[in-house]
Symmetry: C2
């Protein structure tokens, strides 16, 4: 029986795909790839393209990045209906998503709509924060410490609370409130324990081991992540 | 110049290795593999064995799992000195570790001792919690929610605090305090939002979508993980 596969591509480098993901990608009949802009390139598709078979049908679909839940829901409903039809016709169908499918991915909303209708297999991927820590040789967490992952589009008071209370903190999407985050890290004397990577694992990746070097008048990329570890300095 | 590679193997299934990890494993001259018991099997080694070249030298080394930091430090010092010598002789040397090297791994202690002495490349791996979420189709976290990862060998009051304050919680090493954790989840009416996996991604894996089914008089495995998501029920 045909199945639907939700596949994590990792953050960007095709070598971060798992062996299992590559195997599944190579046997698909139809692959859905998300576009953040209508008609724009799919970042996830660029990661996997070397592993796809020649006669694969690729369906790039636009996932609106807006606040309005109704607009987003409409897109998820339409795409999931299309996926169900494709699987019911006997096609092996895949959907690719950046990073890990179960950590802050739009895949979760698709999956909720497919649940119980078609058989779904989810394949994990390397998260951007895990890749940053390894690539920059900057440990995330040891022993009996907690690790907290905080998307910074939430309330800044909660972000500050997390930074104060935990020794290992990942701050995602820092582009919006970078100024305020920087000031708080400075106040907490944590600048030497904070590493920022912009566009992790892409051609235009920038690594800041000293946050003071960031040009604060320029707009940061959506894919900007800070890792804080109070027990490790970012520079020797 | 020869390098040292710290390689995350993922939680158990060899298909969870990344393409990059497989490439590096295939070119090593010497591989260090951790044993938790002296002379015992290395779990990490069993995961990677199909990807190793025939003439590879394998050095299984014992990492004591004790509280005494002096005993552990002595082992880390000895093993890291040996690694430095092997690399300085021109060998490509690897070390394998379960899950992700920068998340709760002994690798971090080795790495601290190698820093500045030999060139070190760290290759990320799939974490057990990420694999459990995908394999069980149980989403970890969406949107502007925080995700907290809690090793339950810490103070139980901190564990309870995390469960109360966050909607997405990973509890690792629940074997020690499972009784108390179960009672707290029951009290907080979270039993339907808690999924437990014992020995994730191994032959003897057990999945509990209903924690009430756990035999509480039996000793749980060290590798027992609970995922809590207050926005998703574990059963439909």
């Amino acid at each position: 029986m045909a199945k639907f596969y939700g596949i994590g591509t990792g953050p960007g480098d095709p070598k971060l795909l798992t062996v299992g993901a590559v195997e599944v990608l190579g046997k698909l009949d139809i692959l859905y790839a998300p576009q953040s802009k209508k008609g724009g390139d799919s970042l996830a598709l660029s990661i996997v393209k070397e592993y796809l078979k020649d006669d694969l049908e690729i369906k790039e679909r636009h996932f609106p990045m807006v606040k309005d839940v109704d607009i987003k829901s409409k897109a998820w409903d339409e795409i999931s209906s299309e996926i169900v039809k494709d699987v019911e016709k006997g096609n092996e169908v895949g959907f690719i998503t950046l990073g890990d499918p179960m950590i802050y991915s739009t895949y979760i909303y698709l999956f909720e709509r497919l649940r119980g209708k078609i058989e779904t297999v989810t394949i994990p991927g390397i998260s951007s924060f895990s890749n940053i820590a390894s690539k920059e040789n900057y440990p995330l967490v040891v022993d009996d410490e907690e690790l907290i992952i905080v998307p910074c589009n939430m309330d800044m008071s909660d972000v500050k609370e997390a930074i104060k209370n935990y020794s290992s903190v990942v701050l995602m999407k820092v582009y919006k409130n970078f100024g305020e985050i920087y000031e708080f890290l400075e106040e907490q004397k944590l600048l030497k324990n904070a590493l920022m990577v912009v566009n992790s694992s892409h051609e235009d990746e920038i690594v800041y081991r000293d946050l003071g070097e960031v040009n604060r008048s320029e707009k940061l990329s959506y894919f900007s992540t800070i890792i804080i570890n109070k027990n490790f300095n970012t520079v020797d």
